[in-house]
């Protein structure tokens, strides 16, 4: 059983159902791996091994009594942005170094109800602000494919934990690419669904109009399994939208059945490719892998059509105006008064605020708070915030126009593969890494990243697929059919190959 962690979610479910192994054994296997190997990766901020063991045992008993929930007893872990009752919830920040949440996020409750077992809380960029997981107060995360490289961010802990074989799937969140980019850097599949598909209640806000939770796994099917319990309208989130409730796993299986023996299972699928996504900053190896993947898609029956989308540089500027503006307000509640970090011996109220926030927030968070505060200030509001909102509507319009001629849009997920830890990129360069992913958040569209090969240095490369509103099933099915005929998603990281 030394390779349980290399099994897919579907294989784990079958194994549990067929009693090849128990949830207790499976859980123990992952805990053992985490204990032995996470010192190299630093993907967890908090371990919940003891409760996980108890839950696994309970899951086995329930299964013995006929409980048929498919995900019963399957381990996972949460990005530390989701509030978990009775468990430290840090959001990667010193500001919340002591915050034991008194409540569960809606998705945490829902995943609990599905019978899954949480092994702990995963590292992330502080308040989800960053693209390499180096802004975490709890230390940088190492890429399991090459420990000298970053795992991406902000969901770097989620990506690294899955890629290292510490959990089969993990929750994550995506404000400007924070699921897709680390999935790309770590050779995983990760999906950010349509804005409003998943409740944000209990997910600590970075930029409320852009934040959306999603799932990460090694394959589209893994993502589908975890995504299923996460979705649905939540009366506690006014922006969660009442919509049809798809069954993703069933939809993926139906797509495979419908394709049958057809050598061109994606016949009829129009993939939009925009030249704006293949610009000068794009790494050659990444471009080659992405173009090769598009050839594979064509070989599977898809047609490539040219589309136009908004100039990514304009999109980038819009994002880095709106996201910090919302963040500057969202992070005001961290003031040292009611919870979280408070400076020592404040002399007065202003001192309490100033030092608690200066000492509790890291530099990237402070930079975005300041940028956002500036953008919202009297006299600048119209020039920055209002203009950015107008551009945002144009970005939506451009996507709508593009989707008139295609079913999905494909692009590189990130301009490069994972870069080296400690490169200490200047912020503007780091922001450029988000250039292909942020338009999706501004438009509220669903998108995923799937692995499409490795660089000559053995680092993963990701392809992004963008879908139309509410069409997560379409996206996941497309990637799933691709994965039925390719093996990029079956490659394992160095750490995943290690046995303990």
């Amino acid at each position: 059983m030394s390779e349980l962690h290399l099994l897919s979610t579907q294989q784990l479910i079958t194994g549990l159902q067929d009693k090849q192994f128990s949830s207790a054994e499976l859980t123990e296997h992952y805990i053992k791996r985490i204990d032995a190997l996470d010192s190299k990766i630093n993907s967890f901020i908090t371990h919940t091994s003891e409760t996980a063991r108890a839950q696994a045992q309970a899951a086995d008993e329930m299964r013995a009594q006929g409980d048929k929930r498919p995900l019963l007893g399957v381990p996972m872990a949460h990005k530390d942005i989701f509030c978990t009752q009775g468990v430290l919830t840090t959001c990667g920040s010193k500001m919340l170094h002591n915050f034991i949440s008194p409540y569960d996020a809606t998705i945490v409750t829902n995943i609990d109800k599905a019978g899954m077992i949480s092994l702990g809380k995963l590292n992330m960029d502080e308040f989800a602000m960053g693209s390499d997981n180096e802004s975490s107060h709890y230390g940088a995360v190492h890429n399991p494919w090459n420990l000298n490289h970053v795992p991406g961010g902000s969901s770097g802990g989620s990506a690294a934990a899955v890629a290292a074989g510490f959990v089969p799937v993990a929750t994550a969140s995506d404000t400007g690419g924070s699921i897709r980019q680390p999935a790309s850097f770590c050779g995983l599949t990760g999906i950010k669904p349509t804005y409003g598909r998943i409740s944000r209640f209990g997910m600590i806000a970075y930029a409320s109009s852009l934040d959306q939770a999603g799932s990460m796994g090694r394959s589209a099917m893994d993502c589908a399994y975890l995504l299923q319990p996460m979705i649905g309208h939540d009366p506690r989130d006014a922006t969660s939208i009442k919509h049809d409730m798809p069954d993703y796993v069933q939809d993926l299986n139906t797509a495979v059945t419908a394709a049958g023996d057809n050598a061109k299972p994606l016949e009829g699928l129009r993939i939009g490719v925009a030249k704006e996504y293949f610009t000068s900053g794009l790494d050659t190896e990444v471009e080659q892998a992405v173009r090769a993947a598009l050839k594979q898609y064509e070989a599977l029956g898809a047609t490539i059509v040219e589309v136009n989308i908004t100039d990514p540089e304009i999109t980038l500027a819009t994002y880095y105006m709106l996201a910090p503006a919302e963040a500057s307000s969202n992070l005001s509640r961290f003031d040292g008064v009611r919870f979280g970090y408070r400076c020592e011996n404040p002399t007065d109220l202003l001192d309490l605020y100033t030092r608690s926030r200066s000492e509790g927030f890291g530099p990237e968070v402070q930079r975005r708070i300041l940028t956002g505060t500036y953008a919202l200030s009297a006299g600048y509001f119209d020039a920055y915030y209002t203009k950015a909102q107008k551009v945002r509507r144009l970005i939506v319009k451009d996507f709508e126009d593009a989707f008139a001629n295609c079913d999905v849009i494909a692009s590189p997920t990130a301009p490069t593969a994972a870069y080296k830890l400690g490169e200490d990129l200047d912020p503007a360069t780091m922001y450029l890494g988000d250039v292909y992913t942020i338009g999706v958040n501004l438009a509220g569209l669903p998108a995923l990243s799937q692995p499409v090969g490795l660089t000559s240095n053995g680092l993963p490369i990701g392809l992004q697929l963008i879908g139309q509103y509410w069409q997560e099933s379409k996206l996941l099915s497309t990637a799933h059919l691709f994965q039925q005929h390719t093996d990029h998603h079956l490659q394992h990281s160095t750490i995943a190959k290690e046995t303990v």
């Binding site: 919830t89 600590i204 409320s208 509640r333 919202l376």
Partner: protein, 508 residues
């Protein structure tokens, strides 16, 4: 007041002018009222809004602004705000958005207040008020309302609970408010007071707010400036959180005097927020414009715009109660009440309802009698016991039952007072015919049988020959003495008119 003639108006204008100009300065006042809406739960959370509980026991994770929580609008506040909008004849904002007002304060848990900046629920409207109401120099005036918007209340800082520290009580955080912003239409403290009282009456009348000033559920900020007539508006100061009608008037007058003194001394009024100190009867600067916040308003991304359907407005409009001004006019015109009676009886909606319930039973022709009993005996007794009309121990039907017995001569005025007292002590129980029971049990029925009264009168004449002689000798007063004897002999039950008549007949 609505029928004032042109001459009256001219006279009023003269009074107004005299009152309004202070040392040759014209006063300009605009008012912001923060009025809590009386929903059971808060505006964006399900926590209860009850007043007066232990600190921080009425605050949910949403009110505490914990990481990850989100607001969801309580639809009850929308209905109440629409009622208000209709009540002040306003354009209604059918497209509502919510904005964040960002500032740091310990009693503001999220570091921002959710309010309506760009698209408020109530637009331009007005309210008709009577200034100096009840005085001989009263006059009507229409006060403009700029807008009214929904927002959440903050918590409270408690400065005396913990030694050397400030405590924060977040029970009030998230209580729904409607902030009502007036036009700068008020020209004196009396006008300001009349406006505030009219708004206060309206919100309680509509049943959308408890509006208890002492509990902070109705708070007034007054923007005051002075100028020489015809010149530009002067620099204004804002008097914050005035929490009683009495203080409002005094605070405004002190502030007017302070500003005029500054200008007369050659100085300039500085834009500032002022606090009124009732003990010293003076206004003090709390903060000046230099310390003013940049609130960095922007649309709250957690709340989607709320579109109010026309049919929602229509059904609220259809269910609107008759408003005080209209009801008073109807009391005067349809029921023939005096202006004074109509004003008293429309002082509050429960009182007006009570009165109308009585009238519904006794008939419109006896509205005046009903008014006299409600305003006189009933309100008198309730006032003495410090009770409100809704706590009246006598139901409207019970009172009407008693009035019916006065009308059919079962009761004389004097007997009726006895029955009223018994009703007030609830001796007749809950039944609508409690008055009849009391009359029956206590034998308070008026004697109207001419023969029986005549027998008593004859007996009294026989026993009081001296008085009879006095009367016949021209002493009119002696007649009253004889009436008294008859009433006494009948133990108060004889019909006084009949007694008078028969006595006169027999005495010749």
């Amino acid at each position: 007041m609505n029928t004032a003639t042109t001459t009256d108006n001219a006279a009023h204008q003269e009074i107004v002018r005299k009152e309004l100009f202070v040392d040759g300065y014209e006063v300009v006042i605009g008012i912001e009222i923060h009025c809590q809406l009386n929903t059971e739960s808060k505006i964006f959370s399900s926590a209860p809004t009850d007043f007066g509980h232990e600190p921080n026991t009425q605050a949910s994770i949403v009110d505490l602004g914990l990481p990850g929580v989100l607001p969801v609008l309580n639809s009850g506040v929308v209905d109440r705000a629409l009622k208000f909008g209709i009540g002040v004849n306003a354009e209604l904002g059918l497209f509502n958005t919510f904005d964040r007002k960002n500032y740091f304060y310990p009693d503001l848990p999220k570091g921002y207040q959710i309010t309506q900046m760009a698209n408020p629920i109530v637009g331009k409207g007005y309210i008709d008020v009577v200034v100096n109401e009840g005085d001989k120099n009263e006059y009507p005036k229409r006060m403009g309302i700029t807008r009214a918007h929904l927002e959440e209340d903050a918590g409270k800082s408690v400065h005396d609970a913990v030694d050397g520290m400030t405590g924060v009580d977040l029970n009030r955080a998230g209580t729904p408010l409607i902030e009502i912003v007036s036009e700068p239409d008020m020209r004196s403290a009396h006008e300001a007071l009349a406006y505030i009282k009219a708004i206060h009456q309206l919100v309680t009348w509509l049943g959308i707010s408890d509006a208890i000033m002492a509990e902070g559920s109705f708070r007034c900020d007054c923007n005051v400036s002075v100028r020489k007539p015809g010149s530009e508006l002067g620099t204004r100061t804002e008097l914050k959180n005035l929490n009683s009608f009495r203080f409002i008037e005094r605070a405004i007058n002190r502030e007017i005097e302070r500003q005029i003194d500054i200008i007369e001394d050659g100085g300039k009024v500085i834009q500032a927020t002022m606090l009124y100190d009732p003990e010293r009867d003076e206004t003090r600067t709390m903060r000046t414009k230099e310390d003013a916040n940049d609130y960095r308003y922007f649309p709250d991304p957690d709340l989607l715009p709320v579109r109010i359907e026309q049919h929602t407005v229509d059904s609220i409009r259809a269910a609107m109660p008759e408003l005080p001004v209209a009801r008073r006019a109807r009391f005067e015109e349809a029921l023939g009440l005096s202006e004074y009676d109509a004003r008293i009886l429309t002082g509050s909606r429960p009182l007006a309802d009570y009165f109308e319930d009585v009238v519904a039973e006794v008939g419109q022709q006896d509205a005046k009698m009903a008014a006299n009993w409600v305003m006189g005996d009933l309100l008198g007794a309730l006032n003495k016991d410090d009770k409100d009309i809704i706590d009246s121990p006598i139901s409207a039907k019970q009172l009407a039952g008693m009035l019916a017995r006065i009308k059919d001569d079962t009761l004389s005025g004097k007997l009726a007072k006895k029955v009223f007292s018994a009703l007030y002590e609830r001796e007749g129980g809950d039944a609508d015919d409690a008055a009849d029971k009391i009359i029956e049990e206590k034998g308070l029925k008026q004697e109207t049988d001419t023969g029986a009264i005549k027998a008593i009168v004859e007996e009294v004449i026989a026993k009081n020959q001296a008085m009879v002689d006095e009367y016949r000798g021209g002493k009119e007063k002696a007649f009253n003495g004889l009436v008294g004897q008859v009433m006494k002999a009948s133990r108060g039950s004889a019909n006084p008119q009949q007694v008078n008549q028969i006595l006169k007949e027999l005495l010749g």
